[in-house]
Symmetry: C2
Subunit: 345 residues, 2 copies
Amino acid sequence: MPELRHDPFQRRWVIIATERTRRPQGYARGPEALPRGGFCPFCPGNESSTPPEIRSVRDDGSAANGPGWKLRVIPNKFPALRVEGELEREGVGLFDRMSGVGAHEVIVDGPEHSRHLADMSYGEIERVIDAASERLRDLQRDHRLKYVLIFKNHGEAAGASLAHPHTQIIATPVTPRTVAAELEAAQAHFRAKERCLYCDVLSQEVKDGSRIVRVDSSFVVLTPYASRFPFELMVLPRKHSCTFGEMSADERSALARALRDTLRRLKVALDDPPFNFMIHTSPNLDYEPARPFHFQTLRWDYHWHMEIIPRLTRVAGFEWGTGFYINPTPPEDAAAFLRQVDIEA
Amino acid sequence: MPELRHDPFQRRWVIIATERTRRPQGYARGPEALPRGGFCPFCPGNESSTPPEIRSVRDDGSAANGPGWKLRVIPNKFPALRVEGELEREGVGLFDRMSGVGAHEVIVDGPEHSRHLADMSYGEIERVIDAASERLRDLQRDHRLKYVLIFKNHGEAAGASLAHPHTQIIATPVTPRTVAAELEAAQAHFRAKERCLYCDVLSQEVKDGSRIVRVDSSFVVLTPYASRFPFELMVLPRKHSCTFGEMSADERSALARALRDTLRRLKVALDDPPFNFMIHTSPNLDYEPARPFHFQTLRWDYHWHMEIIPRLTRVAGFEWGTGFYINPTPPEDAAAFLRQVDIEA
């Protein structure tokens, strides 16, 4: 069973894989490279090499765990956290630990091994969004889980260990620190002004225009004012909503269009860069019957969004030591460059 | 002039290089690789290709900015922050910016292009520690600067852009977020117990032994209980002190021995892995005449230390989205493995 350990110096939790998935001796060979060619557990026909599917989209009425699918959701074969068992908390002298209860699932975006989101049709991307949204709502019903992160690692330098396009979902038994910091900032703004911080920034950014990459009636894509990385992007719904799990069908279609166009811009402009995307949504709204203040107001003071980070620069000692980032490309330059990309090229 | 921008969502500062040091078009070629062979601005004879030296160690009485040195401290030719100018703060609508005032210096560890810390003599490493400590004390006299980070990027994957062994110093006009989080945790512990958190952990870890890599009368080297990365290490002085800048000569020698032995262990065990080290020291103690509470107590509740991170795994979407880390190697396994390395091999 993996375990969660609390760092008393930084007050953050870390997942320690106590099953020893990687022995010390293994590191001298350097980071594992993405296998080229060879066997892919996510390709049609190889369904038996993954755990049984949680959900799949099959228009042809084919049977579960066999070919014929258009999208599959499966438990991760090597999960960072395990869904079985009780959440046990324990003090170890000055330290704190917790059993590694959670969930780790994979959405196989589609059957084709090399067809990534940027190359998919709007309908195909919408299918991935629908599946992610449904899994979010389902996992939020598990009262042991406090947060659900939906994310993608595209390319080796972004941490992908399999090339077949897939999206991951990890649900954690604590609210992660980055999420807590965002909630605190948004709540402080809401308390002071009775307005959503994200709605305020959206309105200012749309007026200003210099950091806008793409805008339609439902979503705004922009390079954040204090971007940490070159070409960092944020995708924000224009209608205030705290959760990714409550979009209407029209909003999900609009997101598919915004996402595909944005990923195509990155692909064309930067020659298919490695990237990560992460969906920032509110912590699980109903995990505790007696909600503290911030869970009551959450619907009004948090605003879900998506973050996209192309992995073009390396994080080094300065960033690790301070949490401070040095960005060599002003976000205004990045936005101007992305705006003029011909995505039909 | 670079500028500092504040992220309203995460409440962190980012350095934006407004001089456009890297144009958008440059990224499509991928991350820049360390040049192999060719011209090295840090090698003896090439002193004129760096800005004039701030300090050097020359036993032979040779003239500044020419060969004959054993160590040089120079301003970074492409600084992330600039030492000239006033610290100007400005609101930009909802956003906040600050002029990019600070310092960015380089210690060229020694004249030999390929002789890294792990291969140096204790005396040579002590020279680097002495220089870093002196620069820290000097930069702390500049009242515009709030924090001084001393760090090293070793190897391309750790962000080094020049192969010649060097250590970097960046001084920032704000206390960085990671530092602030550490101070808050240490202060909360001190307020509750009137004891230093680091002293308490040290004493527990030495008794327990399972995460200890090396111990002598002055320093303890251990793998932290909640290590984020495989083989992450912490070097802690056993005598309580809040700052790296106030070690005695004996302590500096002891640190040189602890550091060299630890880096050799990593080099032998993991085949010269890329790594970063960062010195966590207290913020500038005398930067403000009217000190808030935490600067009065800082001497007692903060404990300087060194963090070493071998770069063996990739940081991916989950870590970026949550600040939560997944470590596939328990720190007890890493410590046991490093303890049995023959560093004279």
